[in-house]
């Protein structure tokens, strides 16, 4: 039994199943879109305040309402302790602007990783201490190994395994290996009222 008393529970659980730690650093929450069933652990940092400041359309389409969301996160994503998501920024049409960061479903971001990509597909596994550079595009079913430095603007094709400094494609996800990217089980292990992990072991 844990002696730690938790008055309120460590996580805020939303109706759509998101579990957000109270100790997570979410800045500019009105610009962060969570798809549901996403876990954000303590000390994870999400910079929603760095929004786009130059409209995507030309000057003619200025009347269209501009959504200002800077970070989109899909379903069953898992942001570990100390990771940091921030939108990438660059000079666009003569002015500096941040661009939105889009993350698909079933994406795992490891501890102390920094993600500044433009797009991350679905079923992507980013291990601990990795750095994903600005405007990188990561397609689906990609595994980024520990300590990888993915350079800015790199495009990583689907089913790649990436490692090294700078990050290079070192292999492919093997046949049938895509099942390891499933995040539903990991989602169930986090939250306020988690059944004890190994009751069978305690009984034995």
């Amino acid at each position: 039994m844990s002696s730690r008393k938790q008055v309120k529970g460590e996580y805020i659980e939303t109706d759509t199943g998101n579990k957000v730690s109270r100790k997570a650093n979410l800045i500019g929450t009105q610009h962060i879109m969570l798809g549901g069933k996403t876990v954000i652990m303590a000390d994870a940092m999400v910079r929603g305040d760095l929004t786009r400041t130059v409209s995507a359309q030309g000057s003619s389409g200025g009347a269209a309402p501009q959504s200002n969301t800077s970070i989109f996160i899909g379903r069953y994503c898992f942001l570990s302790r100390g990771c940091c998501l921030r939108p990438p920024g660059r000079i666009y049409k003569g002015a500096f602007t941040y661009m939105p960061l889009r993350i698909g479903d079933h994406v795992f971001v490891g501890e102390n990783s920094v993600v500044q990509a433009a797009t991350i597909g679905s079923h992507v596994h980013i291990a601990a201490n990795a750095v994903v550079g600005e405007f990188a595009i990561v397609k689906d079913y990609v595994r980024i190994l520990e300590g990888t430095v993915v350079p800015a603007n790199m495009v990583i094709p689907s089913f790649s395994v990436v490692a090294g400094q700078p990050g290079r494609v070192i292999g492919e996800v093997p046949e049938g290996g895509h099942e390891q990217f499933e995040m539903r089980d990991l989602y169930k292990t986090v939250g306020n009222n988690i059944p004890p992990p190994a009751p069978a072991a305690a009984a034995a």
């Binding site: 940092m45 400041t53 500096f96 750095v131 550079g133």
Partner: protein
Amino acid sequence: MSSSTKRHSMMPRAGQLPKAPVNISSSVVIHDNAVLTGNHTINISSETVIHPRNKLDSSHGRITIGRRCIIHERVVIGAPSSDPTKGEFGVTLEDYVTVEVAAIIESGCTTIGEGCQIGVGVRIGRGAKLGKHCTITARSVIQPGEQLPDYTVLYSNGTRRTDKRGVTDLKNKAQARQIDVMRRLITTNINRFKE
């Protein structure tokens, strides 16, 4: 026992570390979540932007930050080093320096030259001297006392080259534009950090 059921911690809260004596220009942008602590002076020159969750720790020496620097989140400037002897000053950042997420700059006569780009998660040892317009890529480590000549590009796998593009003026201009945007995006209340 008091009737209050709330437990009070004996440790000072993170936001209540001793405030450092500061000397900040009024055009500086510092997010409220940044921490300026220590007992030596922290000087921050005009138009510098400091992102949230930064820690500027002057307890091991004076910190000077130049004009139009950008310090991204979770950077620690003035981190304690393994060598406890105090230097003449702590850390000096010249103008137009960019320090990216989670970099650590140790205290003890550490100098970062004008226009340097310090990448994500870099660690710079005490007494290191970086020349002008150096680029340090992500997760590199600079040993204590190391000196880099001007325009050095250091990669995290240890290789290095000299930047001969000659785009320093353009880079400084881009930095100024970036700061203009950040001034609009980051809420700041400088008086909080002053006495």
